[in-house]
Amino acid sequence: MDFNDTHEESLFRAEARDFLNAHAQFKNESEPRDESETDYLARAKAWQKLKYENGWACLGWPKEYGGRNATPMQQIIWNQEESRYDVPTAPFAIGLGMCGPTMMAYASEQQKREMLPRMASGEHIWCQLFSEPAGGSDLAALRTKAERSGDEWVVNGQKIWTSGAHYSDWGILVTRSDPTVPKHKGLTFFFLNMHSPGVTVKPIKQISGDSNFNEVYFTDVRIPDAQRLGAVGQGWQVSITTLMNERLAVGNAGGADFDAALALANDVKIDGAPAIRNQAVRERLADWYCQSSGLRFTNYRVISALSRGATPGPENSITKVVSAKKQQDIGSFGMDLMDMGGIMMDPARVPADLAFQQNFMGAPGYRIAGGTDEILRNIIAERVLGLPADIRVDKNVPFNEIPRGS
């Protein structure tokens, strides 16, 4: 039992480090930036392009689609190394993590050769148009309508919670093409140009005041039938491919963690002594340390399986549900430690540059995005423990006869 790379892995890691050292700065050595979203995107695209040109983009993808046929372990090594540097990767996470694999599985050979390298190089940013006001955890309840019209489809409806829609060039879209059959059977899947006429993107203001998501409206948007992924009515199966990849992509909630909480507890006082001397504080901190540590070593077990070429077990399924709650709890506790001052949203007046306040206001979203706490527990119960699925009263009912509520 050890944490060491194999010989091949260490060579690969050294190669990755050489590239990163030559082109990027470590996170802790870089200056904080105050830049517009446009500037950030330009910087992100430049970084993605540089990686692509040097063979460090989409490592696991086949060469002809812009990757380098790397093993899952090599991808992990790259991710570990890249995460230590101050480089902008967020705008590509959804495209490369979810849209790419879906295109890989269902697009035509010509489309793959045309679209995927542009996705890998950062020329095109992609988004995922799944959730709707009426279809969140119950995604298959979506209502956005697709009607056939010759060689095209005409799409009308609304998507919601679409990250990055406002700067995306392309998107993957699941629609309802037949409302007269049960809900999972009447869906059809497409990819589309986000600059198509009839696509309107409106940002959503979150409780934190930030806008990371959008509403996307479709008004008579025409999509060529050639951009259909999978057969007509097979949209649910295609969606599953995307969602399986989403579960791999959505992981640790991040934010202020144990180290930040420990530093804060040393910084602020309770009854005139550093808060860290308080027994209740110590016990809460210990809980979070154990959770973080448990997630880290669970991940190491998964990586170990990949390293020897095996398929990992289901252990990583716990990551988001544990880390999102921890993020919320640490945020709340950190603000408690600041006592009456904890409510101030001014980095000049509270410690830790608002990290705890940001945890507190961001975590509610993280507990919902990419599978709610409840849906994730269902998944653990059904896929990991093998418990029966819930009884679905709408399973065999035509979609247009399912009760809708208000």
Binding site: F3, Y289, S293, Y300, V321, L376, L385, L387
Partner: protein, 368 residues
């Protein structure tokens, strides 16, 4: 990255599982629960014959000289099966203390007999309710021990105990005391978990032999507990997994409102939470196993991390296993309470959860 048990270690696990499935089904655990015996002697004999008590003891002292990873594997399986034997006292505590602190003569005298199972050893520290560090009353005077230790795990059947006794108000030392010798009176004390016997031992000027350094009893205890905590944690996580399995199997077979209760989200989420707690604990146990087997500097942190999360996992899984069973889970007849008892026993045996949480933060502070 090779953060896994090896093929050989997994083979050992399979052998242990099949041996324990045969020799230690829950009916065997119940025989000790309901009977007058302190432990399952034939099972203990079988474990000795398989060399389990000799696992980590060096070959020069009659051991197998295998590593601690093997011992972790056995601990997990013993925890899973709730084996009613003195393994933890004799192997994780007495053998460890002798290997860590014993001089050449002591190692040569005790370790071969511990390896062969001829002797059972234990560690005696507690003196009733409350944290012993603040209130140790047992005294050592010129090698003679006076005081009462209670509860002492396997104290009724052990051949010797390593006793923590005060030299003066601030300093304690470890002493090896022959429990069959002069000045020792012992009686079984009733505990929460009768499948693991405990005794009250009264020492009246019993002769003790210094183990380790005079006045270093507390730091030695810390070191011993760091090592033992990893092994206890594996027992706890094995028990936690067994409790989850039991809850799952019951929920799949029990029908209410016309369907298996395992199909209700209230039950599914409960079992998912047990799985989450167990997985976190299991992975932290791996960390502890790595630190123990490599004698890593991080051992105090790794051990406390494993200990805290394994204690919580077994508590969670054993109590929610009862809840999943409904009323029948509260009966003597059903086996749920066996896990519930053992979970609490193991959680306090090596010091309570709040103490280990505090220890974890202290270890992190010390390493910073």
């Amino acid at each position: 990255m090779n953060f896994e048990f090896s093929d050989e270690q997994n083979l050992l696990r399979e052998q242990a599982q099949s041996f324990l499935a045969d020799k230690c089904p829950l009916t065997a655990v119940r025989r000790v629960l309901d009977g007058a015996e302190s432990y399952d002697a034939p099972l203990w004999r079988g474990m000795i014959d398989l060399g389990w008590t000799a696992t980590a003891i060096p070959e020069e002292y009659g051991g197998l000289g295998l590593g601690y990873l093997e011992l972790c594997v056995l601990a997990e399986e013993l925890g899973r099966s709730l084996a009613p034997t003195p393994f933890s006292s004799s192997v994780y505590l007495a053998s460890e203390a002798l290997m860590q602190f014993g001089n050449a003569k002591q190692r040569a005298r005790y370790l071969p007999k511990l390896a062969s199972g001829e002797w059972i050893g234990t560690f005696a520290i507690a003196e009733g309710a409350g944290e012993p560090a603040r209130s140790l009353k047992t005294r050592a005077k010129k090698g003679s021990i006076k005081g009462t230790k209670v509860p002492v795990a396997d104290g009724d059947i052990a051949d010797f105990a390593i006793v923590l006794a005060n030299e003066d108000k601030k300093h304690a030392s470890m002493y090896i005391v022959d429990l069959n010798g002069a000045g020792v009176k012992r009686e079984v004390v009733p505990t929460l978990d009768p499948t693991r016997s405990h005794a009250s031992i009264k020492f009246s000027d019993a002769p003790g032999e210094l183990l380790g350094k005079t006045g270093k009893g507390w730091p030695q205890t810390e070191r011993l507990f760091d090592r033992a905590a990893v092994l206890y944690s594996f027992e706890q996580v094995g028990g936690a997994q067994a409790a989850l399995d039991m809850a799952k199997n019951y929920a799949l077979g029990r029908f209410a409102f016309g369907r298996p209760i395992a199909s209700f989200q209230a039950i599914k989420h409960k079992l998912a939470d047990m799985y989450i707690a167990n997985t976190l604990a299991h992975s932290n146990c791996y960390y502890g196993a790595w630190a123990l087997s490599t004698d890593a500097e991080e051992l105090p942190i790794a051990a406390a991390t494993a200990r805290v999360s394994a204690t919580e996992a077994f508590h969670e899984s054993s109590k929610e296993n009862i809840q999943t069973h409904g009323g029948m889970g509260f009966t003597w007849e059903f086996d749920c309470h066996l896990y519930y008892r053992r979970a609490k026993l193991l959680s306090v045996n090596l010091g309570s959860l709040p103490r280990w949480k505090d220890r974890l933060i202290s270890a992190i502070e010390a390493a910073a």
